[in-house]
Symmetry: C2
Subunit: 130 residues, 2 copies
DNA sequence: AATACTGTAATAGTTACATATTACACTAGC
DNA sequence: GCTAGTGTAATATGTAACTATTACAGTATT
């Protein structure tokens, strides 16, 4: 589990962790029953406080994505893949919708948006500089 | 000047106001020399505190977009259209980039993103329910 | 002068997020 | 039993954003 935290995107850190765990499960990078890194371990790796990771794990447990075994750790629940595959595109869709809404309200055309998407995607895939 | 505030998009209110003023100037909805609504007036219209509007206006003034005349109000500066036209797509681009970055990091394809853009755009243009 | 409007400023209180620190309860391995 | 590792919880601190309120300084109109 590698975790990328972007401090400048307006999404709380604990939520970014939640999202990335869900994506990893949807991808198959995390399998049912597999152990997650401990809160302390992930906190160090992501340069973040233990409480922040704990909050992410707690919410994922409440959503039924993770099983918590006190003293042992967190593991991917049996129901997790279904949940996460369902959420996979929806998570992106919601963020996208917010941007498109602003664009639409301010007289920006679909063509301009499409063009921005393609050019930015190309810029991101050429090299992971950002 | 009609101002749409979205409480759930992670962007501070004062910044949303800034952006919408800039878009309006870039669009030609606000012309050079034109008076903006007073801080109190816009605060009521947007259901927001006066201080929040004042902060947006102050920052726009510091960027050279607005001229402030104490006792009279704020007006669109001569330099504003150039600045705002330059920022127009860039503001959307930056938000878009952040979403695309998350999509890319989590194994979502360009095709899927393009499809989301088109379907969400259609959903937004069919009727302004959001 | 009086009034009503401007922007501006200062203060205080609230909420959300994140941090640092300490402690507790549980489990596994020796 | 001891130790080292789990998740969990409580407390305190700091910061950013927002609100509410009050006050002040300038301008325009009457």
């Amino acid at each position: 589990m590698i975790c990328h935290i972007d401090a400048g995107n307006g999404i709380p850190i604990y939520e970014q962790i939640e999202r990335q765990v869900k994506f990893s499960i949807a991808n198959g990078s995390l399998l049912v029953g597999e152990r997650l890194p401990s809160v302390r371990e992930l906190a160090v790796q992501a340069a973040v406080n233990v409480n922040t990771v704990a909050r992410a794990y707690r919410e994922l447990q409440q959503q039924g994505v993770l099983d918590s075994i006190r003293g042992t750790g967190m593991s991917v629940s049996a129901a997790a893949p279904d949940i996460c595959r369902q959420d996979r595109l929806q998570m992106i869709r919601d963020r996208l919708r917010s941007v498109l809404q602003e664009a639409l309200q301010n007289q920006i055309s679909v063509q301009e948006v499409r063009s921005l998407v393609d050019s930015e995607w190309q810029s991101l895939t050429q090299q992971d500089s950002g």
